[in-house]
């Protein structure tokens, strides 16, 4: 690793100055509004600095003025390519605080939806990464596949982007009856073959190898020191996955592998994500087969809203309903931290409650924000074109980085 070079204005002998370049915030390969300030020596990067916050919407503060129920749809807007992870982390935090657990069927449904959205997110990453490197074809195929996944999700949630499907204590509604057949049929009949094809589009290409191998190498030790999580960490050879290492929901009952890389370069990040595409699909199929019957919402009276037809029969039910609708959920005092393995890494929600119906303080731990901190170090001494590859390999979503 090159040592940290401080920015200098002039070069002594010739008096020529380095070129300062604003890489972003409006730039095709920053996938949103990330700004990287670069000091260039011809086209080699001497110094890079990340500037976050162009998409900051203050969600953590916003949560303090919303009841727990009201904040659930907002979590969809954090990492908009993997919205189920955000919602799940928040919902799990509140559940942990209140000491309730979602019914097993709801837990299975959550796993299915999260793995589906992981596939969708990784597919979009694969296409966007190709675009970063100048390959314009893979993205079209990836988007086609993603459409199918989104169709499945739409069947369940009714939405394709901001789903607002998970609830505190369960999920919004049960799976439609034809969902299982359609999902299994699609995944088994066409998905795996297609993924194999898309893999070949880039993997064996000499130019692709030249652009990604040896670019942005992060050692395992460094990755841990920088707080990496998710595929980015696993590509460095650390087999750490919250689904295995800190199991939540019903993941312990399902069988899946965790892919790891060896060198921790951009190519390994590609390989790890590609294997995850397959593993996630296997998880979905397994979970659909094991899916138990039963409720999808907990019956805990502090959370459960009485069904509409009962409300008009019984005055106590009506009062209870009105109370829940106006006050929301009253969580007990305490602080909890819940985390899930998102498409990009550990997505955690730290919740501090003072016993009212709103969080006293909510902290959201986002993976890409942490993962990206190493980019200035990786970029140093590389070409500008490599920066696009490095940034692409981190799979950032600015809605999540800037919260």
């Amino acid at each position: 690793m090159p040592e940290t070079v401080e920015p200098v204005e002039t070069l002594g002998t010739t008096g020529t100055r380095h070129l300062w370049l604003n890489f972003g915030p409006q730039h095709p390969s920053t996938h949103g509004v990330l700004r990287v300030l670069l000091q260039l020596d011809s086209e080699y990067i001497r110094y890079a600095q990340l500037h976050y916050g162009y998409l900051h919407r203050g969600f953590e503060k916003l949560a303090e003025n919303k009841t727990y129920d009201q904040f659930v749809p907002i979590t969809d807007r954090l990492d908009y390519l993997g919205p189920f992870f955000n919602t799940c982390a928040f919902v799990m935090a509140v559940e942990k605080l209140m000491g309730v657990e979602a019914p097993r069927r709801a837990q299975y449904i959550r796993v299915i939806m999260m793995e589906l959205i992981r596939i969708s997110s990784h597919l979009l990453w694969l296409g966007a990464f190709g675009i970063d490197l100048g390959a314009i074809t893979p993205v079209m195929y990836c988007l086609r596949e993603r459409e199918n996944i989104l169709d499945l999700i739409e069947m369940v949630t009714g939405a394709r982007l901001t789903h607002n499907y998970f609830r505190i204590g369960g999920v919004g509604k049960d799976l439609p009856p034809e969902f299982k057949d359609r999902a299994v049929e699609y995944l088994e009949k066409s998905y795996f073959e297609k993924i194999k094809d898309y893999d070949v589009l880039l993997k064996k290409n000499r130019i692709f190898l030249g652009r990604t191998k040896g670019v942005g190498i992060v050692s395992a030790e460094e990755a841990i020191n920088y707080g990496f999580t998710g595929p980015t960490l696993r590509s460095c050879g650390v087999p750490f996955d919250l689904r295995k290492n800190d199991p939540y929901l019903v993941y312990p009952e399902l069988k899946f592998d965790i892919p790891t890389g060896d060198t921790g370069d951009t190519y390994d990040r590609y390989i790890v994500r590609l294997v995850e595409l397959r593993e996630s699909a296997k998880l979905v199929i397994q979970a659909l087969e094991k899916l138990p019957e039963g409720e999808v919402m907990t019956r805990d009276p502090r959370i459960f809203q009485p069904p509409k037809d009962k409300i008009f029969d019984n005055v106590e039910t009506l009062i209870h309903y009105c109370y829940l609708a106006s006050e929301g959920i009253n969580a007990p005092r305490g602080e909890v931290y819940a985390r899930v393995e998102g498409a990009r890494g550990e997505f955690g929600v730290y919740l501090f409650s003072n016993g009212t119906n709103r969080p006293y303080r909510l902290f959201i731990r986002v993976p890409t924000f942490v993962n990206l901190t190493i980019v200035p170090k990786l970029a140093q001494g590389r070409l500008v074109a490599d920066l696009a590859a490095i940034l692409g390999g981190f799979d950032m979503v600015l809605g999540e980085v800037d919260k």
């Binding site: 020529t16 070129l19 095709p28 130019i207 652009r211 074109a385």
Partner: protein
């Protein structure tokens, strides 16, 4: 007067071809990418280029603050002029199918087409934009690395014919009954690769690398300036295709010109065969774009200097052997030697290809 008519005819044909290729590219790319491409304007969007042209003509040409106005406006014109002028010596068909026929035709084409880089450099530099300057720098790096293999890959043909005159190169292939691609397969491949770099297309389009340089040297251009650059790019593709047709693929002749059996192929006029060969290259370039990622510009320089250049030199050596040792009569043996030597050359050269690590070792002097 006759020359004047020919000039107008060739220019018109070029403009029509540019429009057609831009449509063709979008359609072929669409097919490769499971979509339709333009479908709205006319039959399968065939009039899309005209609609685009009207749109670009009526758009405002924004000159950025701090730009060198004269140079900024001149750059796309320079680019286009140097792309169009080489067509003065291209023989489109048999007989008088050229505007002019000079004895240094090939040299003139190479000289003029390499000047086109000036348009890019001036355009990038005068835009007063950092992305454009970086794009212009890359254009120079690109030109330095492909121009030499491009020229050297044509040397073999000149050795075989003993002339730079394009009509003579074509007629030499007719007399021999064998296109030069059969005698010079290595040079042909090198020429196609270097030619793709000359057209500044994927995988060698790092000077308009939207992944890192937004749009490279013409980031700041809009309206007509932009469209002139794009036209120059497409005309360059036609030019490279035309040269490869003339030099390697027998110009306006039908396939296997010496075989009597195939004489019925002559129903297609000479210019038709020529255009077909040009469009083969056009399709190849579009195919590249639909398939390949972009190389980094240092990788292209390694590729140009460490693989293409030795290969073209090898090809010249082979051509010399062909002439001296009289290989016309046992081509199989010649191919064997060519294959073995090229394989050896490529493996030896590419051993050093990916080893180079581009890290900033010491502070270097910028521009």
């Amino acid at each position: 007067m006759e020359t004047m008519i020919k000039i107008i005819a060739v220019f018109t044909l070029l403009m029509v071809m540019v429009g057609f290729i831009s449509w063709l590219e979008r359609k072929i790319l669409g097919r490769m990418q499971v979509r339709h491409g333009p479908m709205r304007v006319g039959w399968h969007g065939i009039f899309q280029p005209i609609a685009d042209g009207i749109k670009l003509l009526t758009k405002e040409l924004v000159i950025p603050a701090g730009a060198d106005k004269q140079l900024f406006l001149m750059a796309p014109v320079i680019s286009l002029i140097f792309a169009v002028t080489p067509f003065a010596v291209i023989p489109w068909g048999s007989g008088q199918g050229y505007i002019t026929d000079i004895n240094i035709g090939l040299v003139l084409i190479l000289a003029l087409s390499s000047l086109g880089t000036f348009g890019i450099v001036i355009g990038g530099w005068s835009s007063n934009s950092k992305y454009s300057v970086l794009g212009a720098m890359r254009a120079v790096a690109l030109m330095l690395s492909y121009e030499l293999p491009l020229i050297l890959s044509l040397v073999g043909v000149v050795m075989l014919t003993g002339s730079f005159r394009l009509t003579e190169i074509v007629s030499a292939q007719a007399q021999q009954g064998l296109w030069f691609v059969a005698i010079q397969p290595v040079a042909f491949v090198c020429y196609l690769l270097a030619g793709t770099a000359e057209t500044q297309r994927i995988p060698f389009d790092m000077l308009e690398d939207e992944g890192s340089l937004v749009n490279g040297f013409f980031t700041e251009y809009s309206g007509m300036g932009f469209s002139l650059f794009v036209m120059a790019e497409y005309i360059n593709i036609i030019l490279i295709g035309a040269i490869s047709a003339v030099v390697f693929l027998g110009g306006w002749q039908r396939p296997f010109p010496s075989v009597e059996f195939l004489a019925f192929l002559d129903v297609v006029p000479a210019a038709g065969w020529f255009l077909l060969k040009v469009f083969l290259f056009v399709f190849l370039v579009i195919w590249f774009r639909g398939t390949l990622p972009r190389v980094r510009y240092d990788q292209l320089m390694y590729f140009g200097w460490k693989i293409l250049l030795p290969l073209t030199l090898l090809s010249i050596l082979l051509t010399g052997l062909y002439k001296v040792l009289d290989f016309q009569h046992n081509l199989i043996f010649y191919y064997l030697i060519t294959f073995i030597l090229s394989l050896f050359c490529v493996t030896y050269c590419s051993k050093h290809f990916y080893q180079e690590e581009t890290t900033l070792k010491e502070v270097r002097v910028g521009i």
